[in-house]
Structures are given as structure tokens and as C-alpha cells.
């Protein structure tokens, strides 16, 4: 959000509530409703109530920002109606900020400050600062001016700036965006199409959702600039149906842009005509693949087809089509306004600009962070995300979702750069980054992803359809404690065959989670097979939970939380708690809730 500004002029105070999906899930609507009621009851306060999207600090939601009469900005986190009352009474009425509820973004030694210190916000420049439901708010920060610049200076200039910027596709594959636009522009045809891939299906990734919810006009403007450059007259946004708020805000933004003459015919008094439609996906991961996505917009089963011809030549209804993802388009207006060189000055030689990551897993500060390319994984995990949330050491990060892989802690000095990340066997992917500690079993993680890709394989290619099923069976066998030494070789063999014989990215990358865990965590596979033991205590068939009497304080937390009443003991009596192994389902809840580390697995 914004930093305090000083001015002598007295302003009307403002309260801004973050209403992204994460905030809403954490209770922001209730906070907003409560504030609305309180402010209506006290008209004398004369406070403006506004909303905004997500500023990335999901771990502190719900967030409320107070802009006081001097223009100073205060950010409050973990808000509840009760805490709101306290802020209203003490800060708004009394003029005294409630220190213990404040998030000090300006202080690098505070949690919020550390979260933001290493970030470089280009894509997220307006997320959490402007009202995503207001065209006026977007225009007040220079919105839609980039399109006007693009129309004035012409397509050749835009293309040269885009190429200079070095922007590469943020959907995962990293193809140079300027080059892609040029191909579509040069492709023969009177009618061309622009498509935005908002089918963010990777489990563990929510960058695109947040951008669509927090700054929808930036995506529309990026698409319009692409359309003006390649000569397209219509655009489609293919958005996951699982993102209802994103769809709602996109549709509203499109209506606003149409009414303001920013979409439609004769945009900015030029001959440029362009309009955008939202198409909702219907729950198929493979539709994130571009040819499958096009098939889905055409109303068919979303199955990929061989390339070439690439969509730039033959795309939607065989028309030349430019497809980029949400984050790529959101970068475009910034590049046009600030120049390709300014963008290229951020990042590394081959990976320019910044990248948005969705941080989740066993870290203290989960949320959305945009960091300059070239930063190390360690800086993201330790500095931005604040390190382990459990006190247990971090073991690995999973990058790139089901197409990516697990990078072990001894490679945390790897820099965020398409090629450097590829060398680890993982991929940059769309930006999901899930942090795992020693209670995460890497064989189980591989099984989890294979289960996902097996389910989501469209079935067209034999090796993807049957190969992933066979790989999953082997992994399930190993997790069940029935693995044989030969299974690892077979897994590797299958992995290479699935990679080499699949038509699209889904099959070509599906084995990555298995290959990277075999490469870096082979000892865990071997422990399952040779010693019949799951070192992380996750695989149920291989794990027994026990309470160590010496460390047990008799606090009763395990018994209170056991979902199957398998624990008995006497409250307050140290070491009196025991687990009934016959009833225990090995869910691990007791280990999670024990503050004293008394629950052990073996």
C-alpha cells in the first residue's frame, strides 16, 4: 500500500478494506459490513469507506487501511469487528494509532516491512492500492494512458519497446512476448484475435486470480495494446470458473471500459476497434495448454492438438491468435508507459523484469510477492516469507506446480531466472511456490502430483494417459510400504517415456515432480522401500505415532484435537497421555497441535 505523505491540507479521512478472495475468506466482508454500519451510525465522523484488492499480505488478512486527515496512511492487520471498534475509538476519534495492531510497512525490521523490502512491484503496482471496481480509480493512476500512447506512436514502436523490454511469457514457458506478437502481426489474415489465458489451474498458484481481482483494467489495457499492435478486433479472456470474484470484476471492468469508449469502435478517436468477452472454463486443467484452451472456447472438449501450426498462424476458428497469460498482459501498460529499457533494467540478462510468486506452505508470511528476477530462492523463503512457520527446518520448495519440481534447501542459492531454475529440473512455471519442512514426505508429494496429472490427463496420448496411471500405481505401492528396489528404475523409465511421447506440456512435464524428488530425495524413496519407513511420518502404512512421556506436559491439546478420540490421558498429569494404536488413523493432527514436540513418529 502507500507510504505516508505529508501535506498541510486537511482531507476527509478514508478507511479502505482489502476485499480479495483471501481477505474475504479471512472475514473481510464481515469487517466491511461492520465498518459500514458504524460509519452510518456516526455521520459526524465524515469518513469515506472504500474497498481495494489484495496487497499480497494474505497472512495478515483482513486488512484495513486508515488515511487520516493529514494524508498519513496506517495499515491494520488481522482485523475483526472488535478490533475495528478499537481502531475507530482510539485512532479515528482519539487520534492515537493503535500501535499493537499496526503493520509497519515502512520499517524493514517489522514483519510487513520485511515482506515488502525485497519486492519490486510492476504487475502488482495497483493491487491493494486502488478500488478494482472503479474505472475512475484506475484512470487516476494513469490507467488506459498506455493504450493512447500505443495508438499514437504506432505498432512498430510498441513492438520495438516490447522486444527491448525482454518480457517473457509469465504463464510458465517463458517465450519472448514481443516475438510472439510479431509472429501474429505478420501472419496473413484480415481478422485476428487476442486471447488471455486466465485458466490458472496449478494447485498452489493464485497470482492471476489476485491480479484479476485487484487490477482488472490493467489486464484489459494490456490486451487492447496487444490487439492494436497485431491488428486484432476481438479478445477473449478464458477464466477459471472457480474464480467467481475475478469473473465478476472482469465483467464489470469490461462494461465500464465500453461505456467510456475504451473498448468498442473508434477508441481514442482513432480507427481502432476492439472488444473483449469473458469465457468461463469448466474445470479442466489441460485447458491451460493453449491449443486445448482454444478448443474449449470453440465449445469442444479441451484437448490439445499438434503444433505447428502455432496459434499465431492458425488459432481460434483458424484465425491468427495471440495468447498470453494474465501476468504477461498486466506488465504491458507499465512497459509502454515507462519504456522497454526501464523494464529490462530489472532482473537478469535472460530473464528481465519481475515475477509474482504465490507463497504458501510452512512459512510465516504466506501471500503474493513480486520480486525482481535474479533474487535467490533463499531470499524469497527467508527474507520475504520469513522462514519456517513451524520451527522445524525447511527441506525444499516446490516450484511450478504439477509441471515443476522440488528444489532442496542446499540449492536455495539458485537465482530466479528461467534457465537457472530449469537446470534444477524444476521450472519457473506460473509462480506457485510451496515451502515444505521435514514433516513433508517427498514420495507423498510426488504421489500427490501424479494423482493430479493422472486425473487431468485428457487421454489423447497413450503414454500420458496410461503412463501416468502406471507411475501413480508404483508411487502408491511405495507409500503403502510394498515397494521393491526395481520400482525406482521402472519409475524413471516410465517418466522419460511419458515426457518424450506426449503432445502437450501436461504430459511432457508431468513426470517432473517424480524426477526431481528421485534426484534430490532418493534416500526417502529408499527408506520407504528398503527400511519400510517414512522418514517424514506421513505415509500411514509406515508410520506409528507415539507420545513421549518425558516431554508430555499433560496439556490435553492432543486429546482435544484428535478427530477419532484415539488419545486418552489425565489433564495436568505429565506423561499420562497415550495413543490407542487401533483407533489411530495416523492423521498427524496431534503432532501439529503439540507445542512441546512430545508426539514422535517412527
Amino acid at each position: 500500500m502507500t507510504t505516508p505523505t505529508s501535506t498541510h491540507e486537511k482531507r476527509r479521512p478514508r478507511l479502505v478494506v482489502g476485499l480479495g478472495s483471501c481477505g474475504i475468506a479471512a472475514g473481510a466482508r464481515e469487517v466491511h459490513r461492520h465498518l459500514k454500519g458504524r460509519l452510518a451510525a456516526e455521520p459526524a465522523w465524515d469518513v469515506e469507506l472504500a474497498i481495494t484488492g489484495c496487497n499480497g499480505m494474505c497472512h495478515r488478512e483482513p486488512l484495513v487501511e486508515l488515511h487520516d486527515a493529514d494524508g498519513k496512511v496506517f495499515l491494520y492487520g488481522d482485523m475483526t469487528p472488535k478490533k475495528v471498534d478499537m481502531v475507530l475509538e482510539k485512532h479515528l476519534r482519539g487520534g492515537e494509532p493503535v500501535e499493537r495492531l499496526l503493520l509497519r510497512e515502512d520499517r524493514p525490521d517489522s514483519s510487513a516491512g520485511a515482506f515488502l523490502a525485497k519486492q519490486r512491484r510492476i504487475v502488482l503496482r495497483h493491487c491493494g492500492t486502488i478500488d478494482p471496481e472503479s474505472l475512475h480509480a484506475y484512470r487516476a493512476v494513469g490507467g488506459w494512458e498506455a493504450l493512447q500512447t500505443a495508438l499514437t506512436r504506432g505498432a512498430d514502436w510498441v513492438l520495438s519497446e516490447m522486444k527491448k523490454s525482454g518480457l517473457r511469457g509469465r504463464g510458465g514457458a517463458g517465450f519472448p512476448t514481443g516475438l510472439k506478437w510479431e509472429f501474429t502481426r505478420k501472419a496473413p489474415g484480415d481478422r485476428k484475435v487476442v486471447v488471455c489465458n486466465a485458466d490458472e489451474g496449478d494447485p498452489g498458484a493464485f497470482m492471476d486470480r489476485s491480479v484479476l481481482e485487484s487490477d482488472p483494467h490493467a489486464v484489459l489495457e494490456g490486451m487492447a495494446i496487444a490487439a492494436a499492435t497485431i491488428g486484432a478486433d476481438r479478445g477473449y479472456i478464458y477464466c477459471r470458473a472457480e474464480y467467481p470474484l475475478a469473473v465478476e470484476r472482469l465483467r464489470r471492468a469490461i462494461d465500464q471500459a465500453r461505456s467510456a469508449g475504451l473498448l468498442g469502435a473508434g477508441i481514442f478517436g482513432t480507427g481502432f476497434a476492439f472488444d473483449i468477452q469473458v469465457k468461463e472454463g469448466a474445470g479442466a486443467f489441460v485447458c491451460g495448454e493453449e491449443t486445448a484452451l482454444l478448443a474449449s472456447i470453440e465449445g469442444r472438449r479441451g484437448m490439445p492438438r499438434p503444433r505447428p501450426p502455432f496459434p499465431a498462424q492458425k488459432g481460434l476458428w483458424d484465425l491468427p491468435t495471440n495468447i498470453n497469460n494474465v501476468e504477461t498482459y498486466a506488465n504491458v501498460p507499465w512497459i509502454i508507459q515507462n519504456g522497454g529499457d526501464a523494464f529490462a533494467s530489472v532482473g537478469t540478462e535472460k530473464s528481465r523484469g519481475s515475477k509474482v510468486f504465490a507463497l504458501a506452505g510452512k512459512i510465516r508470511r504466506g501471500g503474493l510477492a513480486e520480486v525482481p528476477m535474479g533474487i535467490t530462492i533463499r531470499e524469497i523463503v527467508e527474507d520475504v516469507a520469513g522462514g519456517s512457520s513451524t520451527g522445524r527446518p525447511i527441506k525444499a520448495v516446490q516450484m511450478g506446480g504439477p509441471s515443476g519440481g522440488c528444489i532442496p534447501v542446499d540449492l536455495f542459492d539458485t537465482r530466479i531466472d528461467y534457465d537457472e531454475v530449469n537446470r534444477t529440473g524444476a521450472i519457473m512455471g506460473s509462480g506457485g511456490l510451496v515451502v515444505m519442512d521435514e514433516t513433508t514426505c517427498m514420495v507423498d508429494v510426488a504421489r500427490f502430483f501424479l494423482h493430479f496429472t493422472k486425473d487431468e490427463s485428457c487421454g489423447k496420448c497413450t503414454f500420458c494417459r496410461i503412463g501416468t496411471t502406471r507411475m501413480l500405481e508404483l508411487l502408491e505401492k511405495i507409500c503403502a510400504g510394498e515397494g521393491a528396489a526395481a520400482d525406482l528404475k521402472l519409475l524413471e523409465e516410465l517418466a522419460h517415456q511419458v515426457k518424450n511421447t506426449s503432445l502437450c506440456g501436461l504430459g511432457q512435464t508431468a513426470p517432473n515432480p517424480v524426477l526431481t524428488t528421485l534426484r534430490y530425495f532418493r534416500h526417502e524413496y529408499e527408506a520407504h522401500i528398503l527400511e519400510r519407513r517414512c522418514p517424514a511420518g506421513v505415509c500411514k502404512a509406515l508410520t506409528t505415532f507415539e507420545i513421549t512421556p518425558e516431554t508430555c506436559t499433560g496439556c490435553d491439546a492432543c486429546m482435544q484435537n484428535c478427530p477419532v478420540q484415539a488419545i486418552s490421558g489425565v489433564r495436568g498429569a505429565r506423561g499420562s497421555y497415550v495413543i490407542d494404536q487401533k483407533r489411530c488413523t495416523r492423521c498427524g493432527v496431534c503432532r501439529e497441535v503439540c507445542k512441546f514436540g512430545a508426539v514422535k513418529t517412527h
Binding site: S21, C22, I24, A25, A26, C58, H59, E200, G201, D202, P203, G204, A205, F206, R209, A241, E242, Y243, K279, E280, G281, A282, G283, A284, F285, S296, I297, E298, G299, R300, R301, G302, A358, L359, A360, G361, K362, G366, G367, Q398, G401, G432, V434, T440, V445, F448, F449, F452, E456, C458, Q560, N561, P563, V564, T585, C587, G588, V589, E592, V593
Partner: protein, 160 residues
């Protein structure tokens, strides 16, 4: 069960009858009936350019579409990466026990449907369960048991 076909006609008027409208038409039908009744699908094929093979193909390809009725309240347990690592399997198991049905099934009284879903995109609140229209974050077996009991109380369902 007979289906009010005038609703289908309205959906077709709104969405159009071209082959490319198959998915929006099915979404419209499911929004109204909460599943895809066979009679509705037949009616669509008779009045649009969409063939039965295309429509059935689409209806069975995408995981959003259901060919049988669902419960009044759908409970979605997120099984994304962060939720999996955070114990989503245990939550599904807990709900299976509480509701007395396996995953992806509906209770006999048509009150609840239990569903594992891939990722709802609230990963920093993992593990997440969507109970009807409420998204619950940092869920534990105990928390979901309590939330379900409260929901049953508020919606007149019988207690387990």
C-alpha cells in the same frame, strides 16, 4: 422428475444456439438445476446446432458438470499443494465420517455433497474447506466438525 423446458428455452435465447455455445449453455442449465438433467440436454440438441455427441462429450469432459443431482449444500475440500501438505486428506476423512458418505457422494437426504477439488486458490490460508458459500481457512478436523454441526443446526439438518 420432469424438467421445466421453458427455462432451457430462455437460456438458449440468452446464450445463442451456435456450436461454440455448448459450455455456456451447460453452465446456464447447471446454474439453474444444479446438475444436467437428461431431458434438458435432449432439448438443447433438438434446438441448437449442437449434436448429442458434442454435448455429451463436453458434459463428461469437464469436471464442473454433473449428470446427477447434488445436495443442497456442497462441501468442497481443497486438495491443492499447500492444502495437501497441510492435511487435506484428514479433513476429507473427517467429513466422510461425519456425513457417513464417501468422497464425491451425496447424503441420502440430499442435504450435503462432499467433493474434493483441485485448488480454490487461497493457498496461504491452507488447508481450506468451502462449506456452501463460506470459505474456511486454516481448518482442523475439530474446526470443520464444529462448522458442520453449526451449519446443520442453522439449516435444519439432522445431527450426526
Amino acid at each position: 422428475m420432469s424438467v421445466d423446458l421453458t427455462i432451457i428455452d430462455e437460456i438458449l435465447r440468452e446464450k445463442g444456439t451456435g456450436a461454440e455455445m455448448a459450455i455456456p449453455i451447460l453452465q446456464g442449465i447447471q446454474e439453474h438445476f444444479r446438475y444436467l438433467p437428461l431431458e434438458a440436454l435432449e432439448h438443447v440438441c433438438a434446438h441448437t446446432e449442437i449434436t448429442p455427441s458434442q454435448l455429451y462429450g463436453v458434459a463428461t469432459f469437464y469436471s464442473q458438470f454433473r449428470l446427477s443431482p447434488v445436495g443442497e449444500t456442497i462441501i468442497k475440500v481443497c486438495h491443492g499443494t499447500a492444502c495437501h501438505v497441510g492435511g487435506a486428506d484428514t479433513l476429507t476423512e473427517t467429513l466422510e465420517n461425519q456425513l457417513g458418505i464417501p468422497d464425491k457422494h451425496t447424503t441420502p437426504d440430499l442435504k450435503y455433497t462432499l467433493e474434493s477439488v483441485a485448488c480454490v486458490g487461497c493457498c496461504s490460508l491452507a488447508p481450506v474447506v468451502v462449506l456452501g458459500t463460506d470459505t474456511l481457512g486454516k481448518v482442523t478436523p475439530r474446526k470443520i466438525t464444529d462448522a458442520l454441526a453449526a451449519h446443520r443446526g442453522a439449516h435444519g439438518g439432522k445431527d450426526a
